[in-house]
Each structure stands twice: as structure tokens, then as C-alpha cells.
Assembly symmetry: C2
Homo-oligomer: 361 residues x 2
Amino acid sequence: MRTALVIGTGLIGTSAALALTSRGVRVHLRDRDPDAPRTAAALGAGTEEPPEGPVDLAVVAVPPAYIAPTVAESQRRGDARAYVDVGSVKGGPRQDLVALGGDLSRYLGTHPLSGRERSGPLAATADLFEGRPWVLTPTAETDTEVLNLALELMALCRAVPVVMDADAHDRAVALVSHTPQLVSSLVAARLEGAEESAVRLAGQGIRDVTRIAASDPAMWVDILSANPGHVAEVLAEIAADLDETVRALRALQSSDEAKREGGVAGIEAVLRRGNAGRERVPGKHGAAPAAYETVAVLITDRPGELARIFADAGRAGVNVEDVRIEHATGQQAGLVQLMVEPTAAPVLIAALRERGWSIRQ
Amino acid sequence: MRTALVIGTGLIGTSAALALTSRGVRVHLRDRDPDAPRTAAALGAGTEEPPEGPVDLAVVAVPPAYIAPTVAESQRRGDARAYVDVGSVKGGPRQDLVALGGDLSRYLGTHPLSGRERSGPLAATADLFEGRPWVLTPTAETDTEVLNLALELMALCRAVPVVMDADAHDRAVALVSHTPQLVSSLVAARLEGAEESAVRLAGQGIRDVTRIAASDPAMWVDILSANPGHVAEVLAEIAADLDETVRALRALQSSDEAKREGGVAGIEAVLRRGNAGRERVPGKHGAAPAAYETVAVLITDRPGELARIFADAGRAGVNVEDVRIEHATGQQAGLVQLMVEPTAAPVLIAALRERGWSIRQ
């Protein structure tokens, strides 16, 4: 790939442009907002000038609802040899492109699974896709040259290509991304009118469950609008389980012992299924979270405490796989949880103890 | 307080005993399992010997269903001048104690908000309660001496006392602890039978939402069984919002534009209410999460990388308030997100850049 056209210079488009430019591809930038490509070009993402002839690859990085018309128009203009989009939903845009008479042999729907809290070209970086999965959804119609140009794009962005059927992709993101977003918002919404004394008791559990409830509503309306069927399906399944759970809780209030026992069984079943599902969530390097052991170290809030812990861990030859800092409300002391390989845990504990750290086991 | 009796030497009871012993209180240990006090005593939590006369304070640290009978029996034996329990639910045990004819003037229901993934005396530590809220639920009947002994217990454990009405406490923990637990389990349960290709796309969002789904079912059945009414109430509210959300998603699939617009409005409302609720969740030191800025640093998986970052942050005089490591599936590169005071962010960015770190902005 020697030339590319990025249409839509927001976070994803500009990041891809930065990655391609840094690897020697000549990148042309286009957006319906004329200021956006100027910003992207100033960041070193490419040039605002239109290409002189068809480029090797057009990367369409616009919101889901605009993908099909943008690809169709670009194809009519003969902008490129191949066209990919990078939207977070894949089924609808493809159907729309068929309806608009687009050339399906020259188009490939893709989705890089990397996002950020921030959006726009100023948030873009060339390394946004490094090591992240990037789904591509080829069909029998897809020209092999187009597939290979898309794979080259992913390689230049240092992403990990994953081939999926478009509908399977949309079901998957409904399950692992779109549904968790809405459920997190629903739990957080309960706090909106809660008493201050209640909110004060919040700990790490609800903090984690509601973290993504802080996401941008406009962006999520776009995403959810493009995948309503699959998300509604997963949410309806959760709603059914939720109704069962409420029934089980009500049964626990019954004076009838058999009913109470049924309630206990119902609650326990939900919790056990949650255990089983959680075990499947990939951690770092795709490993299950259970593969690591946690070493908890008590710290104060003095600057440099964390540095000393990590330095001591490094001296012991231990690689910390993940870390979580848990702080006490209104206090200056806290707990650092270090996740390490099971074989490294005793080494780390001994090394930290020797250096005077207080380990909680 | 000079003497105490801890009844129930699991995680909470043994931790309280360790804290009291370390501050010079003579602590007697009792449990229905005779091995448990022996283990706790071996850890330095106190003595297995029964007290010679009434102690100053009896701390009842048994599962919620056993609190009332244990307190009533202990009061009949005249074990102590004052009795507190440390269960995670407060209304039911109190009612049960009334029914059992317990002495309400000599009893105070309390709840330290500190738990761990592990349980049992071996998981106990004297610092378990340090800086954490510890709720106490006095009533007009509570003797002032009992209240003061409970406050002394909390002070010796370095906890932060919070006075609440028992029912308000149970509603609060239903909202901020028990409901998030069940919702996390319900989302994780959806992954139990999911295809591997779908689970592979899981990112940090669902990882956070489902973290507590790994909790111990037996312990949570105990807790939820003691607070079913309040939890069912919050869950029913979430269920109503969830049904509305499913309806809004279905409306997005409609061919009627007015219906689609209604769907968009419905989805946006859920997301915005989630934003508002999330803003109320206290972060470290009780501050809202928005009070910190995130500095994202690209790292490789070489040992010592984290140590170097924290050392460089420390040299720049910057205190890292929280940290999150985000790793790419199957790859050796990752992102460290450092949360710092807004004024410290530019200092940290400049210092890290100068030392060769790649910052993502």
C-alpha cells in the first residue's frame, strides 16, 4: 500500500492516518467538517490535498449511519481500489450499501476494538490499535485484493486481525460491549437521586460496575442505534433473569419454608452462573483472571510509595501483571493489589516483607 | 476498654480481635467451631480461655441469620457490659433480638464496610478497618455507655464511624453493594454459554462490570437472604428501567420515524441518567472520579517498566492517585493510566516525556 484516503478524521480515522503516515504511506484526509482534516494534517496525519488519482485504500471512519452513503459516494467517484469502514457495527451498513447499489466486491467492513474516553483528531495517536483485535468481515463477494489491503492496514497499525461473520460480530459486541454499557448506566442511574449518606457507603464494587456509565451519551446513541436488535435481545435475556431474581428475593421473605428454600436456590444459581461467566472474561494476554494471584500491600499516601513497591518488585525479578489501588474514604492509607503469576507470588511477598512492606494475606 | 469477647472468629471477628489485642485490650475468642479460635489465637488475636467475669464489650461476628440468637444467648450468660454485632444487614437481626427478648439497651448493631475476596481467620489483619466507614445504628433505647464502647472499638480499629438508622443502612447497602453484586452476576451469566469468538472481543468495560461476579456465592446468599426486601425493591426499579430500554431499542428498529425518535430519546435519557449517577460515586478520599486527570503511558511487558514510571513520577514530585493497566489481548504492549490531580498532570506528562516515555493524549 502506497496511498490511502481517510474519510472522517475523528479519533479512529486520524489515528489510522497517523499510523499509515508513520509507516511511509501517503495519506489524504477528507471530512465534511473542513477544519477536521486541517487539524489532522497539522498533527502529521497526512495531507488535506485531494489525491490525483485512485488511491490504494479508502478508510471510511464516519458514524455508523453515514457509512453506506459515504462508501457508495466514494465508489461512484472512483476514489480507491478498495474501501473499508471502521464502524462498531457491521450488519446494517452492509445492507444499506447493497440497497444503495455499492460495489460489494471492493468493500470490506471492519471494526478495530480500540476506543478511548476522548474523541476527535486531537485525541488520536498512531499506536491506538497496537495489539488490539481488529475484526474484518469478508464475504464470498469480497475481492482478495481488498482483503489483503485491509490486512495490510491492520498490520501497519500493529493490530491483531480477527475474521468474523458480520452478524456474529454484531451479536458479539452487543454481548460484550453494548449491553454492559447500558447495564452500567442503569445501575448508576439508581444513584442519581440517592441520599448522600447512602452514596457515602459506596465501595470498589459499585465503582467498577459503574465506571463506563461516565461514557459520552451522543456516541453511544449512535452505536446503539446501529445495533438495536441484538442489544435488545441480550437485554431481554437479562431482564428475564432479573425478574427471576426479584421473584427469588421475594420468596426469601415468605413465611413458607419451601418457598424460602426455592428463593435461596434461585439466588445461588444466579451467583454461580455469574462465577462461570466471569471466568471466561479474558484478562491481560487473553488469560483468565484466575490465572494470577493477588498480593495486597498496605501503603500510605506519601509520594514515591508506589515507585518503591514497583522498584522492589522489579529487583525481585517479578513482573506485575495488573494492579489495583484501593483507598479508604477520606483517609491517607490504602491498599495496593498486585496481580502476579502464581509462582511469582511467594517470591514477591518475601521480597516486599524483607523490605519492610506490610502484606495483607 | 480493657477486655473484650469476640464471638465468631472468621475474617471480621479475627481482624477486630487482632486490632484490639495490638492496642492492649485483653481479647477472648469463641466460635462454634473449636478449631477457629485456636487458629485466631495462634495468629495473636487473643486467648481461647473463657473470660473470668463479664468483659467490657462482646463483638458478635457471625452470619446475619445467627446474630440475634447469639446476642440473646450471650446476654443471658452475662458475658459483657455491652454487645455489638458486625453483620452486613441491620434491620432483621434487631427485630429478631426483640422477638427473642434480648436487652436492647445493651446492644448496638454495627457494620464495618470492609471486606475481602478471602474469608476465615487466616485472611484476617489488624488493619482491615483502617480508614473505612463503620456504620453504627443506635436507637433511643441504646445506653450511652454501649454507644461509647462501640465508638472506642471503631477508634481502636482506626475506622471512620458513621451513624445511620438501621433501615436506612439496609436500603443504602441494597443500593450500593447488594444490587451491584447481583447485576454484575447477571451480566457475567450471559457469557456462560457465549461463543469463544465473542468473548475474545471483551475489553476493559465488561471486565470492570463483571469483576465482582467472581465473588463467593455462599457468602452472598447469606447477605442477600438477610436483606431481600430492599434489594428486590432496587432491582425492580432497574427492571422497570430495563424494560423501558428494551422498548426504546425496539422502537429504533421501527419504520416509523416518530417511533425511532422516541427510541433515541429513551436511550439517551438512560445514558444521561447514568452519567449523573456515576458522578456521585466517591473515588479515593471521597472525591468524585472527575476530580482526577488521566495520563496514559505506553509500556512494554519488560520487568521494571512500571517501577521506572512510578520512580519517574516520584522524582517529578507527582503523587499517583490511582492506576489502571490496560493490556492488549495476546500482546506484549499495554497502556498504564495514571490518575493524578489536574494541576499535576502537565508536570507528569513533561517529566515522563523527557525520560522517553510515550504518552497518549
